[in-house]
Symmetry: C2
Subunit: 511 residues, 2 copies
């Protein structure tokens, strides 16, 4: 809420509107629905898609207007989307006022950048502040994001943007010289190394307070997977307690307000399928700086369908990351990995949790690729934090895993987060069999992910896909390539018909 929004406070309300919660999820963009013939629409000359200022007591937000001609909204009513309702702190029947918003001054800074000028720290601070306050519509955000990609942000701008994003939210602090963290760039199905890495690092005495996201477009986020093993909805005090006690945690980041601009920008970038280097650096490092990290490992799967497509691009990105990280007193390292196929056996919250437990408990059937990736990341992080000699990080991590320290630490973390849970098991399963024999030459990550989502993941925690085949394996006609897990017969059917129509998700070549 910026100062200028408060100016109109204290005036009499010209056309009071009765607030009504419509129960509409519109993400972070506030919506208001007014009747076209309402006194306020007529007198203020509002038209559809206008941005208007809504005032309720001391609270003010800017919302996008849709005009209604039908009876679903009365002439003295204002229908609000959920985010508008919450940000205004309303109860049903409260009176609100709708007026033209004050000019959005920071838009002139976006325009200035469009017209070729670099932005300074104060400019990014104003833009990001207005974005977090909800004053920007999606149109404005898309323009900002595009302007920063079309004329790429220079090094100083990336730093300014990152700082502005950190300042826009809360910061965690840990009273430790070394706080390690991990981030994965670009989702590879099943790549659930985080709980393993946290367990290893914490078992070795390091501090790793990991905040993770839920799935947005993928079949599972780390928070979704972890939630099948322990509660993850912890508030900042609870997080501090867990980390002080156990050295690490794996919690959902939604309850802590770290770099809130990031989630808003990412949603728009995703809609544009746009990922500029500067924004990626600011996105990752603002979250990590706000989380209080000092040493950071970045998992960067590289492959033809991955976010990063070449080792050269990964190295470029590393260079930019290191420069900005240094300004925040952070050290970062990029670990490039193979992004050609899903990781582990399971895809979906509970199936991935099962893989995590198998690796932690050194089961004979634990997926070796998941274990090796986790060890590589933990090893790099140990070396970066000077907790293992150069070249010995993986060996140190492996010993913590093999002798059970990591498994015990993981159980302790789960207990501290509120109690260890047993991941649910699916009630409906069906194998998908190879339709021919031959060598598996390609696996389509995107289609496998979609299959898992159609089966119900991540909402249906036990749903997803269990992989039986990997690249280079020899498939036999009629033998299972994977098993679909679901919680309802309908979702199972839906996934199976998708699989039948997309048999090319496994590409089998004659040997």
């Amino acid at each position: 809420m910026t100062q200028r929004h408060r100016k109109s406070h204290g005036r009499r309300i010209e056309h009071p509107l009765r607030a009504r919660k419509l129960g509409i999820d519109s993400h972070s963009e506030a919506l208001v629905f007014l009747h076209r013939d309402s006194a306020v629409c007529r007198s203020e000359g509002f038209s559809a898609h206008n941005r208007i200022l809504l005032c309720a007591g001391d609270r003010r937000i800017v919302a996008t207007l849709y005009q209604v001609t039908d009876s679903i909204i009365g002439r003295n009513e204002a229908g609000l989307s959920d985010v508008a309702w919450e940000r205004l702190g309303l109860s049903d029947g409260d009176e609100i006022e709708a007026v033209h918003p004050p000019p959005l001054d920071s838009l002139s800074l976006v325009r200035s950048r469009i017209y070729g000028n670099a932005l300074d720290k104060q400019a990014f601070r104003e833009i990001i502040g207005d974005i977090v306050a909800g004053d920007y519509s999606d149109i404005h955000i898309a323009s900002f994001v595009t302007a920063c990609a079309t004329k790429p942000l220079d090094a100083a701008e990336v730093l300014s943007l990152t700082e502005a994003m950190v300042e826009s939210g809360d910061r965690l602090s840990w009273n430790k010289d070394i706080v390690v963290d991990k981030h994965s760039v670009g989702g590879l199905p099943g790549n659930r190394t985080t709980p393993i890495v946290v367990a290893i690092m914490a078992s070795l005495g390091l501090t790793m307070p990991k905040t993770s996201s839920r799935a947005i477009t993928s079949p599972a986020g780390t928070a979704d997977t972890m939630e099948t093993l322990a509660p993850v909805d912890l508030d900042p005090e609870e997080i501090h307690r867990v980390v002080e006690q156990e050295g690490g945690c794996v919690v959902w980041g939604g309850a802590v307000n770290l770099s809130p601009a990031d989630d808003i920008l990412i949603r728009v970038e995703r809609a544009l399928d746009l990922d500029s280097e500067g924004q990626l650096i600011a996105s990752v490092l603002s979250k990590k700086a706000a989380a209080g990290a000092t040493h950071l490992v970045l998992d960067m799967p590289v492959g033809p369908t991955a976010k990063v497509r070449s080792t050269a691009a990964a190295m470029m990105l590393e260079k930019g990351l290191l420069a900005v990280a240094q300004s925040f007193g952070m050290r970062a390292v990029v670990v490039v990995s193979d992004g050609n196929q899903p990781v582990g056996h399971g895809i979906g919250p509970a199936l991935e949790a099962r893989d995590v437990l198998a690796v932690l408990n050194n089961h004979a059937d634990a997926p070796t690729d998941l274990r090796d990736r986790a060890l590589k990341l933990a090893g790099a992080l140990l070396e970066l934090a000077n907790a293992a000699p150069e070249g010995h990080g993986i060996a140190v991590a492996r010993s913590a895993l093999q002798d059970g320290r990591a498994a015990r630490k993981f159980e302790a973390i789960c207990t501290a987060q509120g109690g260890r849970r047993t991941p649910p098991v699916s009630t409906h399963r069906r194998d998908i069999a190879a339709t021919r024999s031959g060598r598996i030459d390609a696996i389509d990550n995107r289609k496998i992910a979609k299959l898992a989502k159609l089966a119900g993941a991540p909402e249906a925690r036990a749903a997803g896909v269990e992989m039986h085949a990997r690249l280079g394996d020899v498939a036999t006609s009629g033998r299972a390539l994977c098993t679909v897990h679901a919680e309802t017969p309908g979702e199972l059917d839906y996934a199976l018909s998708y699989a039948a129509a997309n048999a090319d998700m496994f590409w089998i070549e004659d040997i």
Copy 2:
């Protein structure tokens, strides 16, 4: 509707939804409201703000999804905004299907431009085609517009964009060697020269089929003003009949589908307050090329609060316009004019119509500034079209005005358009008096326009502002500076309280 949308036709509908018209005006962006717990949201994994493909029989559109948790939408229902409803051609209770849309291939062209590559004609054709088909969300459009402004379009790109915009809609053709047209860049309140210019040109035997817009953010568009004098909602056949009979018309462009991309792009550019030269050229010339114009005069008011702020900028723009116009076989000329204060006496549809009639009929109290501007534009157009010798255009235009030819032609055009109307007269008026004596040093165009809108313009046709003072006039404390006209007492009050709070709309200095 693009080809790829038809691919899924013929499949069985997995989760049929009962279509319901919600009566929501969302401009050109189609919206769909689905219950979050509907089978289709669960199985397809839709989330808020997703773009989804709606199918009804042969018709397919892409709409932005909002998810509803309340009972306003049932679990088997799809609530649709007006534009979605119309584009799907639905009747209440029709069954529709909602699925993931095919990938929006042309977005990769937008990204390519963001990453530094110029676009060719085929690229613009695909992007503009998808925009007109409604496949782009506002986020996508904002990104495209911003990418074309941040790295300005080169001359070849401006031409390609203009051509693509012309191709995206209908074209009028006139079987004439010379078809004249006029466009005003940047609205100055009361600058209603078009009906006068059309009457003069047509009275001199030229062809001037003028399509105009209604007000979007201003107190009156040319179509709103003309509508108080004659019907303006003519279809293409009727327009042809009027123009064949009288040589000219002043009709609303909304009934003819000329450069439909333009209206969509302008809406987003306005939200961004972004006006890049390349887009302005494409916007103006695509409409004019589609309207079949061969000779074009551009009225360009220049002033500190106008769209174009310097004569140098006006000349730059002229250069770009001429180059693209030439490629379409069009000749264009820019007439720079004073943009420091409103034009004429009246602001608002009927008040402006009264000024137009006063000028056409050579009334003693006709506003001389409006007359002089119209003569200057008509003169420039006559010379450009070789219908008057160099340097004599204004004199030729003046004689057509003075001897009554223009007035008779205007009456004939009104009759041909469906019958001359008498502009309505306001029922409620109040003077706004000077609060001090002195010389009027500045008039705020923006505030005067807002005052007229608060009084009810353009919906209330008789509403608006009647100006009594101009720059340089000596004001006397207590004497009227302007009169507010309204159709209801409530709107009059609303305008007056705005005027009281904004006395600086007239800036009076001691003499």
